[in-house]
Structure formats: C-alpha cells, structure tokens
C-alpha cells in the first residue's frame, strides 16, 4: 500500500524501489563522503529519509538535517545540535560535549538538562560556530560506532551565504571549514552525505572555489525509474486505491510523462483520480489529464521556465539557450551533441549552457543525446516557444 503523494517527501512503505541507488550509496559510504546532486522533485529527500531509517541495517546511526532555512553558519550548526538533541544518544552526547572545550557555550538549565548540562546554547555562542561544529563532530565520533549525517539542501544554504556576501568570501570560509571538518582524522567515524538540487559544483566552480568540495564523491546517477519499475510503481499505487489501471493506461502515462520520476507518476495518477472519480481510467483519460496539464490554466507554470532563462542568463546567453532548447525539442529523442555544436559551435559557451540547462532541470543527457527532462515541458516548448 502506497499513498498518492504529490510534493511532500515520502517515508516508510511509500518509498518505492531505488534498490540499485541505495546499494551503490551504502557501498560508497564505506570510504567516502557523498554529495548527491539531482534536480528538484526527483526524490532526494525521500531517499535520505530512507537511508536514515535503514542505517541500522548497515551498522550506522543516522540523522537527517535540512539546512534550507538556515541563514547563517551558526544556524547551520544549531540545526546539527537540534537533531542530536532529538536523538536517542542525546544523553551520552551531552556528557561528551560537556567535557569538550565548548562546554561554556551551553546554558546551565534544568529544562533540557542532562547531568546538569543542557544543550541549549548561550546567547554569545553564535560567534563561535566553528568550534561548536567541530566539537559536535568530535563528540559524535567519540560516542563510538559509525555516524551518518544526512544534510539536505546544502546548495541553498551556500547560496544564502553568497547573497549575504556577494564577494563569496563568507561562503568560501564556511566551505573550507566544512571540508576541513570532514577530513579530520579524529572525526573518521562520522560520514557526511550532502544533497541539494541546485548544482553546488557549478556554483562553487563559478565562484572559483571548487576545491572546497573536491573531497566529496559527487553522485549524480539518481534519476527516473526505468519503465518496468514505473509500471510496478503504478500497479502498487492503483492497488492502494482499488483502481484498475490497465497496462495500456500505464503505457500511456509513461509515454506522456517521459521522465519517469515518482513525482511525475504520482502527479499523473493524482490528476487521473480527480478526473475519473472512482472509475477505471482509460488511455484517453491520460490524454485529457495531459491536456489539462498543458492548458492555459497551467501556462503560468511553464511560462516560468522560459522567463527564468532571461532572468538568470541575460543577453545574449538566453537567446543561445532558447536556440539549444528549440533544437532539442524537435525530436522526442532529443538532439545529439553534434547537432547542438552545429547550432552554437564547439566552444566554452556550449559546454556552459548545457551545464546550466542540465543542472537547472531543463534537459538530461542520455547516451550522448540531450533531451528534455519532462515531456510536458517539451510539448509546452514546442507549442508556445519554438
């Protein structure tokens, strides 16, 4: 039984398949810290929840922390602390941190106290975030066993730092500190799993401090389901809602959806439920749903993808990007790199724009061809832009 969930990350039984990816990630975590980069809505957070929930099976204790709403380095550290506070090992951790050099930054309070020392920070602790962060990692290491810290939305946090200091100095300082923290020998029991949608690698490279994340294994092979898995996923969804969904309908959903990420399949299923209201959907209903998703009411949704190129790339790159996307939109199978070179020449600009369009979720590379991630977006592009 899985829920029809659109948007919100899923947990437990609602997390479907991804066996290959999780096996690869656990194997990689034996030796490396990981940076998982994938476009939004692919299911990164759900994957991280799943890894947290199954960590014990791999002999690890795990914590999930989202830093999307952390606006400063101290807030980043506070998030770590807050998660530790909610963990079963809180008492031992508090005892360990009490013995560390940062004990004085913790308020003596009865409310959250453990052995006289609580985990509530004093007002002046914020200025000492580096020492606090280091002590947290060291304390975790000192507890013994392996720890996995799953930190979500790291690029958004880095971008917030960049916004506060456009020179990049503040972000560089943080990332350097964070890299050093990961590499300390005395923290070797702590493994880091960072994730985000916006290309952290692109951002750091553009700002000239790509070296600050070069210790991380960048995992980008987290994408859509294959057709068989998508069919199985739809079957399970259909069974959960006691709706008969034929193979023809599943085929139609897959054909229409194009990029078979769970979100798209869930969205299509959700719209079908709304449309069919209890009866079994037919392939024609999938077309109707698809038509609705492309209708004038949803135009604003897609308009944004076009406007964003202008806003983010500026002239003349926006024009070049549109030309590339036009070329890619012609064929459902996308365009070869050679075709695209024919449009823009074989230069840095092409590499740069393909990189941006890939990391921003427009296109994906498959077997040497570039194609739209979403066939909905491709059809919108063909109807309204090309």
């Amino acid at each position: 039984m899985i829920q029809n969930a659109v948007g919100k990350p899923v947990e437990g039984r609602n997390f479907f398949d991804r066996k290959r990816e999780t096996a690869e990630l656990w194997s990689r975590l034996e030796t490396d810290d990981i940076l998982l980069l994938a476009p939004r809505r692919v299911g990164k957070t759900s994957l991280m929840f799943h890894m947290r929930d199954t960590a014990a099976e791999h002999g690890q204790r795990a914590m999930y922390i989202s830093v999307a709403d952390a606006g400063s380095e101290s807030a980043f550290v506070r998030r770590l602390l807050a998660e530790v506070e909610a963990h079963d090992e809180k008492k031992r951790f508090a005892a360990a941190i009490h013995k560390s050099r940062v004990a004085s930054f913790f308020r003596r309070t009865k409310k959250f106290s453990v052995g006289g020392i609580g985990l509530e920070l004093t007002d002046d602790a914020d200025a000492h975030w580096p020492e606090l962060g280091e002590s947290i990692a060291a304390a975790l290491h000192g507890l013994g066993g392996k720890w996995l810290l799953l930190i979500d939305e790291v690029p958004i946090f880095v971008l917030a730092l960049l916004r506060s200091d456009p020179t990049g100095e503040r972000a560089r300082k943080f990332l350097n500190w964070f890299r050093a923290l990961r590499q300390r020998a005395e923290n070797k029991n702590v493994r880091w799993f960072l994730a985000g949608s916006i290309g952290l690698d692109t951002v750091t490279r553009r700002m000239g401090f790509g070296d600050t994340i070069n210790d991380l294994f960048v995992y980008t092979d987290f994408g859509p389901f294959d057709r068989t898995t998508a069919f199985a996923f739809l079957s399970e969804l259909a069974a959960s809602y006691s709706i008969a969904v034929s193979d023809d309908v599943k085929s139609a959903i897959c054909a229409r959806t194009g990029w078979l990420i769970p979100f798209h399949l869930q969205l299509c299923f959700s719209e079908l439920r709304m449309l069919c209201h209890g009866r079994s959907p037919a392939a024609a209903d999938v077309d109707a749903v698809y038509g609705h998703l492309l209708s004038a009411a949803r135009k604003q949704y897609f308009d944004y993808w076009y406007q964003r190129l202008r806003e983010e790339l500026g002239t003349p790159d926006d024009g070049y990007a549109v030309a590339l996307l036009n070329a890619i939109a012609i064929d459902p199978a996308g365009a070869s790199a050679q075709t695209l070179r024919g449009k823009l020449g074989d230069g840095e600009r092409l590499t740069y724009l393909l990189d941006v369009l890939s990391s921003d979720g427009y296109i994906v590379e498959q077997e040497g061809r570039y194609l739209f991630r979403s066939s909905l977006l491709r059809d919108f592009w063909r109807r309204h832009i090309t």
Partner: protein
C-alpha cells in the same frame, strides 16, 4: 442550545459563507460536490499526508468548500477521531512573521475548542499565547509551534489547517525567504499538521523552480461551473428554499438560464445571486434578469474598482471595455502608455487575481482579460451608451441562439428515444420537425421516426393517409414513407422466403438489407426471387455478401461498419454517398461517426476529434491522423497512440504509428514494419500510400520510387500514387520518368490541381515553357480561388516572358469562382434567386439592415453568412454587415466571419470567453451544415 452561529440565515449567503448555519451550508452545497467527496475520502485514509492547494477566482467556491470540509470532519466520527479542523478568518492580515501564523493556528484551535465546549483547554491555550516571547522571532516561532503541537498531542488528533487566501500569507512572509523554507520544512516532516489551502491566484512560490514550495502542494483548480452544474445548483437551491417559480423557469426556459450562465462565466457566487433574482420574479426575461443581477453586484464591484490605484483603474477600464483578450503591447498602444509600465501593471493585477493571463493568438504572446467575467459584464453595462448597446445585443443574440439550440436538443432527444407507437408521439415528432429552422438532419430523422412508428403499428398504419396529406402539404414526406415501406417489405420478403441457403433467413436479411451496394429496388427484387435461386447460386450470392461485409469492417472497423449497415437496413440511406441519409441516421442512432463516413472533409479536426472521443472508432482516428500526419505530428501521434490501445491489430493504424514513430524506433525498424504491413495488406491502398509518404517525407527518393512503383503496379488506377511517384522521380532528377508518371496521374484524374501543378514544375525544369504554361492554365482552371494556383500560373507565364498575360487569367479565374452545387441548391431554396452569391449579398445586406432579431431570421442570416463564407464571399459578407451598421447586433456572426475569412481558428483566443462560445458554435455549424454532396466533379485539393 443552538449556537448563535448555527442559527439559520433563511436565505443564501453570497459573499460570506460563514453567515450560513451549518445545516444551510450543507444543504445548499452542490457546486463542488465532486471535489469535496474526493478530499474527504482522502482524509479518511490512514496516515494521509498530502498538502493541498485549491486555486480559483473570487466567488468560485473556495471558502464554501473549506467550510464544507470542516463540517464533514466534525460530523463523521471516523474523521473526527483523527482530525481537528481549524478554520481561519478569510484574510489573515495580521501575519508578518512565521510565528504570527503559528499563533493564528493556536487561536483557531482555541476557537474550535471553545465551540466544542472545552473552555478550560481553550483558556490554557490563550494563556500560553500570552506567554510567548515577543522579541526573538526564532524563539517565538519555536515556542508557538511547541504549544500548537503539544495541544495536538494532548488531544491525540492531527490538525487540519483549512487556510483561505494562502497567497496572502505567503506574500506577507516573502520578505524572509527563510520563513518560507522553514514552513516548508515543517510541513514536510510534521505529520501532525495537514494543510488544505485556498488561493485566488496561482502562487508564484509553488511554480518557481528554485522557490521553497515548488511542486510541493497538490493543486486543484476550481473552474467555472458547466451549464449542467449551474442547472443543478439552481435546482437544489429552489428545492431547498421552496421556490417553485425558479424550478418552472429551469424546466421551461433553459435558454434563459443558458444565456445567464454564459454571462456569469459559470461563477458559483454569481449563480447564487442569479437564483435570488429569479426567485424575486419569474415573469422577467434575460435582460431584466441581467439588469437586476448587475444591480445587486454594484456596491461590491464599485467599491472594489474604486479601491484600485489610478493607473490600475485605467488598465482595468481599458481591459473591460475591450472585453476580448488583449496583449500587453496592444493595450499599451490603446492607452498611449509605455509597454513596460503596462506589463508591470498587468502582472500586478494578475497577481491580485483581478486579471487573468490567457492563451492568445499568436501562441507566443500572452493575452490578458478581466478574471471575474461578470465584473466585465457589469463594467460594460455601466460604460458609454455605445458600449452598453454592444452588450445588450449580445444578450439578445445569446437568448435566440440558445433558443434554437434548445429546440435542436429536444429534436435530438426525441429522435434517439425509444419509438412509441401512439399518434401523439407521431404528431409531436412531426410538429418539432416542422418547427426546426431550415433543413436539418434532425428534421429528416424525426420525420423518419414518425413514419416508421406509424408503419410498424397496424392501427396507425391505417391512418397514415388520414394523418398525412402526401399528395399536398406533406408531399416532402413521400420519399420517407416509400423508403420505410420498402424496408418493411424487404424484411417481410426475406424472412418469409423458402431458401436452400446455408445461412438462416435472419442472417440473409442482415446481409441483403445492410449491403452498401445495390439500389432498393434491386434488393427487393432479389429478395422476392430468393426462392427461385439454385443452391449453388444462392451460396455464391451469400459468400459475396459476406465478403463485402468483411471488407466494410476492415475499412471502417466493426462498430462503425455495423452502424452503416444498420442505416442501410433501416432505409435511411441507399448509397454510401447519401449524406442526408447518413446524417439522419447519425441523429437517430446518436452516432456522429456516421456523418464522417461519406464526407470526412466537411468536418474540422476538432469536430472529428469530438466525434472520436465519443465513439473511439479506428476509422475516425485514421482520418484524423492522416489529416495531421505532416501538419501536427504531436496531435497525430496522440490520436494513433490512443486508437492503438483499442485496435492494436489494425494494420492501417499500425502503419500510421510507424510513420509517426510513436515508439521512438530507428528508421530501419520503421521502414521494415511499413514494408511488411504493406506486403501483408495488398488491398489497402492507404498503407502503400503511407509507405510512399514515409520515404517521400524523408526525401529518400530512390526508396520512395521503388515503393511507389510497386504501389502503382498494385493500384494502377490510383492517381495519387502516380502523383507521389512522379514527385519522387522529380526530386530524384529523373525528369523523363517523372513526366510519364504525372501523365498517368493526369489521365486518371484530370481534375486534380496538384497533378497539373507538378507537370508545370517538371516542364519548367526541362525548359518546356509552353507546356508549363498550358499545365499552369489547367491548374488554375480548377483552382481559381486558390492563391497558390494563381501564383503557379504567374510563375509559368513569367518564365515565358508573358508578364501581362499572368494577371488576366488569374482575374478571370477569380471572378468565375466555382460554386459547389449543394450550396447553390440551398441558396435557390432560400432566395429563389438562382443561387448567385452576387445577388445574394445585396439581399443579405438589406435583411441585416432592416431586420430585427427573431429566431428564424437569425438562423437565416447565420446560415446564409456561412454559405457565403464557404463560397469565398466571407469578406463581402463582412462588409455587408459593416455597411448595414449592424456589427453589434450580429457580433458573433461577424466574428465568425472574420475568423473564417482569416482561416485562423486560433483567432478565437482573441475573443472574450462569453463571445467565444457562440462564435465557436457558429463556426462548427458552418463546417457541418452543408447538406448534399456535389453531383458534378469538383476540383480537389489534397491535404498534405
């Protein structure tokens, strides 16, 4: 004791559903029942956690839906055990920080507890709010959240946040993006909270890729109600509030309701207002209804408009007066303002839900229109006299238009209903048939129905010559009587025959009566001599008919073939080209696909698609796909993909699928499949044609030549295949062979424009200019109205240095435009002036100038305009209306003509939604309205 809030209002709440008592709201809740049922069913699922966003303009029923969900949760013990619904003020203006929103949630919870009589718990919550710190936002938010979730834990319930105007909250928190992320994080992980939010606009943060709420909420849009839903709302309210007068209007004057439905844009709030108007007095008419309705809206609309800043008022004024959608650039031009200023104003107004962004023509531009359509109507009525008149004429037009529709609907229903053998039924059918405007298939269907009912009943059969004056006033019914008598006679003859056939008489009757070959007389004669046929001859005859049945099914598909055979059996048609008969059968059986069989060209793609949606016949899908295969690849692929689901083994569909490459295969695989399909279906010309087209389209000329040579060997009489072969040879630079092939095509179809055009091109390349001119002249002789054909001649003449000559033939051809015979016949019947458009136009102008609107007259003008437009006189018909100064009265016809003349149906997007509906209906009527096929050969154009 009943709470003061739960006392009945004894009426309908227009702007504030909170004023309705719970019972009243539940009883009057009709409009969004389907959404409501889905949402509450979901809430009953274990661990349901889908956050949702309801999007709809003002008055679309968002607030009522939220209230209804609350009551459903409270009243259902299972839901109430899991959920505590929290409702909020419609606008939460006090939110400036995230903690404010959490505090509002606590307040809402406190209210809910108080209403449930749990005053102590409510007081404790209020006290906890008072104790929240005020300075440090982070701490205040964390503490407030802890209070809220702590209360949920104590109640052992999840909190259902029913938040109206969620856009306002998001906008107020937008100064701090971290607050958005924090709220998102909370909703992501916190199982104790579920959000069902509503917003009048699409919230930017939910559709912006980098924004926190991107694709996070399940979106449900509330559009305008359909006419049927509007009817149901009014009917429910009338019953609930005991207003029999309103029920009577709904029953007897649906055209009045339909007109008001269009003007209200299906907005539930306006429809509830309309109910009040109808309830006040049932004697009025649409105009009176509208005026009273507008009067009720005036205070609200006036204050809303006056609250806008001056420049926004200016923009809204121009948009409302323009009525139809308009682009930012055009609006800037109208207002003599900078386009950037207008764009930013429009975007702001769109964000506020005042203005809608809509599709436009061209598609790359965005159109803008007033979002609340009834506000636009209100504004037009308050504008200048000229503008007001424009609207009034439109209202009158709609009333008559839907009046005619109403009659036609009745006729269709009657034609489809089970036949009843009583005189009253017969008379009703004949009376409605007579009342129908002009010559309609519904008329024939009803007449056939009446006569059949009489013939099938012994007592009525005796009265047939008493009821009908077949020699006098009812002479037009004579053919129908004869036809029905024939059908009865044939049935009797076959079923009573003593034959030696290997099949039963019923089967024999099915084979003979449903056969599309042979006249009625021949069939009857055969039936009467069945007893005399030898066994061998009879079996051969039966085999022939069975084979014919198989062929028909392979051409049309089983279902449609059966329907066609039924039309033959019932006497509706005598040949497959009997358009009238097939149309009557289509009405009688309620099967629009039948109309397509004889002349698919009369249908627009959208009409064909609508027909396909209803019947899913492979034949219709194939026509559609063939039509779009090279013009709109996506549409054609969609159609074929869907059709293949129902008809996976149909070779022609598979060939179309291969051509369109719906499975994204490599070219070689497609070619292989097409070649195999063609070989396996040597009798199916279309598959060979597709094979040829496939190579042709990919410019694989030598392959195309090879395949098409084989095809022309199989179908030596097919002019189109010869043409394709010639064109492929032409591109393969094999001019001598190309010329020979096109000559074959011309010999087989000398009336085809394309054949002559290609010959002229071949001659041009081989420098045989004189021949080129001759070919071009022939081409133009058949395509006098065709701009491309004119161009071909001009080119050919220029190539022979006869520039002056190039003008005259084109003019002569243009002036003697070929008129379709069916249109001529129709015009003769209407005007008795010989079917000459030049004489028809002044008559039309005179009528338009002098006439007042009446239903017959409107239908007359509408259809005449359609015929003239089809004859290429659309522009002059437009001028007629302009010269008569009657644009406002005939605005829908005028716009339909303009669109017809432009040939761009996409221009519909430039019309207001109110106007778009009738204009689209008129255009559809024109495209499906002609009655007879031409008996003389017409020049044909191929669709490419």
């Amino acid at each position: 004791m009943t709470s003061i809030f739960d006392r009945r209002l004894n009426g309908v709440a227009i702007y504030n559903p909170d004023l309705l008592s719970k019972e009243e709201l539940v009883a009057q809740f009709v409009a969004r029942r389907r959404d409501f049922e889905q949402m509450t069913t979901d809430l009953a699922r274990p661990r349901f956690g889908q956050h949702q966003l309801i999007v709809g303009h003002r008055g679309m029923g968002k607030t009522t839906l939220l209230r209804r969900i609350r009551y459903a949760v409270e009243d259902d013990p299972k839901l109430a055990k899991t959920w505590m619904p929290l409702t909020f003020p419609e606008e939460q203006y006090n939110v400036s920080r995230l903690s404010d929103f959490y505090v509002n949630c606590i307040d809402a919870l406190s209210d809910a507890l108080e209403q449930a009589g749990r005053r102590d718990e409510a007081a404790r919550l209020d006290a906890a709010v008072d104790e929240l710190p005020s300075g440090n936002e982070e701490k205040r938010a964390a503490d407030a959240l802890a209070v809220l979730l702590g209360a949920a834990d104590r109640m052992k319930k999840r909190l259902l946040l029913l938040v109206d105007n969620f856009d306002l909250i998001i906008e107020r928190l937008s100064k701090d993006e971290q607050a958005h992320w924090a709220l998102r994080e909370l909703l992501s992980r916190e199982h104790r909270l579920l959000l069902i939010a509503a917003s009048p606009v699409v919230i930017g943060s939910t559709v912006t890729y980098g924004a926190p709420f991107y694709d996070f909420l399940q979106s449900r849009s509330l559009g305008g109600l359909t006419f049927e839903e509007t009817h149901e709302v009014l009917s429910t309210l009338a019953k609930e509030l005991k207003q029999p007068g309103v029920l009577a209007i709904l029953e007897h004057d649906p055209a009045r309701i339909r007109t008001l439905h269009v003007l209200a844009g299906g907005n539930p709030r306006t429809i509830v207002l309309l109910f009040g108007v109808l309830a006040q007095g049932a004697d009025g008419d649409v105009r009176g209804d509208l005026e009273r309705l507008l009067d009720q809206c005036t205070p609200l609309y006036k204050s809303r408009f006056e609250a806008m800043p001056a420049q926004a008022q200016q923009v809204v004024d121009a948009l409302a007066i323009h009525w139809d959608p308009i682009s930012a650039g055009e609006l800037a031009e109208t207002l003599h303002l900078d386009v950037n200023t207008i764009s930013s104003q429009l975007n702001r107004l769109a964000q506020q839900g005042v203005v809608d962004k809509v599709e436009y023509d061209p598609e790359t531009k965005t159109g803008f229109q007033i979002a609340e359509r009834f506000f636009n109507i209100w504004y037009l009525m308050r504008a200048s006299r000229r503008v007001r008149r424009r609207l009034i004429w439109f209202v009158e037009f709609l009333k008559l238009f839907y009046g005619i529709e109403q009659l036609l609907d009745r006729a269709r229903d009657l034609a489809k209903a089970s036949p009843r053998a009583d005189l009253r039924h017969v008379e009703l059918c004949l009376a409605i048939a007579e009342a129908l405007p002009m010559h309609r298939p519904e008329q024939v269907a009803l007449e056939s129905r009446a006569i059949r009912a009489m013939l099938e009943n012994a007592s009525l059969q005796k009265q047939i010559y008493v009821v009908l004056d077949l020699e006098g006033a009812d002479a037009s019914l004579k053919p129908i009587v004869d036809r029905q008598q024939w059908a009865a006679e044939l049935r009797r003859a076959v079923l009573t025959a003593r034959t030696t056939a290997a099949v039963a008489n019923e089967e024999l009757y099915d084979l003979i009566s449903g056969s599309p070959t042979g006249t009625r007389e021949e069939k009857l004669k055969t039936a009467q001599t069945l007893d005399q046929m030898s066994e061998e001859l009879l079996n051969k005859f039966v085999e022939g008919l069975q084979h014919e049945r198989v062929l028909l099914a392979s051409w049309l598909g089983d279902r449609l073939a059966d329907a066609v055979r039924r039309a033959f059996r019932d006497g509706h048609v005598e040949t497959l080209f009997d358009v009238d008969g097939l149309m009557a059968a289509a009405v009688t059986y309620g099967d629009p696909a039948l109309e397509v069989v004889c002349d698919a060209g009369r249908f627009t793609s959208s009409e064909l698609f609508a027909i396909y949606e209803r019947c899913h016949d492979a034949f219709i899908a194939e026509i559609l796909a063939m039509r779009h295969i090279y013009s709109d690849n996506i549409a054609a692929s969609d159609i074929v993909r869907t059709a293949l689901v129902n008809h996976p083994n149909r070779p022609r569909l598979r060939a179309l699928g291969a051509c369109l490459n719906i499975e994204h295969r490599a070219g070689e695989a497609i070619e292989r499949e097409l070649e195999i399909l063609a070989k396996e279906s040597p009798n199916d010309r279309s598959i060979w044609m597709l094979l040829g087209y496939y190579y042709h389209d990919r410019q694989q000329w030598s392959d195309a030549v090879r395949a098409l040579k084989e095809a022309t060997d199989l179908f030596p009489d097919d002019a189109l295949l010869h043409y394709l072969l010639a064109e492929s040879l032409f591109h393969d630079s094999r001019m001598d062979e190309a010329r020979m092939a096109i000559q074959h095509a011309i010999n087989r179809d000398p009336n085809d424009v394309d054949n002559w055009e290609l010959l002229s091109r071949i001659c041009g390349v081989t420098k045989d200019y004189d021949e080129a001119v001759v070919a071009a002249r022939r081409c133009l002789a058949f395509a006098s109205e065709n701009i491309r054909a004119t161009g071909i001649l001009a080119v050919a003449l220029i190539a022979t240095n006869r520039v002056e000559e190039a003008i005259e033939p084109a003019l002569v051809v243009a002036q003697s435009a070929d008129m379709p015979v069916e249109v001529r016949a129709f015009m003769l019947g209407v005007y008795s002036t010989g079917g000459n458009p030049d004489s028809a136009l002044p008559i039309l102008e005179q009528l338009v100038r002098s006439g007042g609107l009446s239903d017959q007259y409107l239908e007359y003008v509408m259809r005449t305009a359609g015929i003239l437009a089809h004859m290429g006189y659309g522009e002059r018909t437009l001028q007629c209306i302009e010269r008569a100064g009657k644009i406002d009265e005939f605005r829908p016809i005028y716009e339909a003509l303009r669109i017809h003349v432009s040939g761009k149906r996409s221009q519909l997007r430039r019309l207001s939604p109110e106007l778009r509906q009738p204009v689209e209906a008129i255009l559809n009527g024109w495209n499906g309205g002609s009655k007879e096929t031409s008996k003389k050969p017409k020049p044909r154009r191929r669709r490419r």
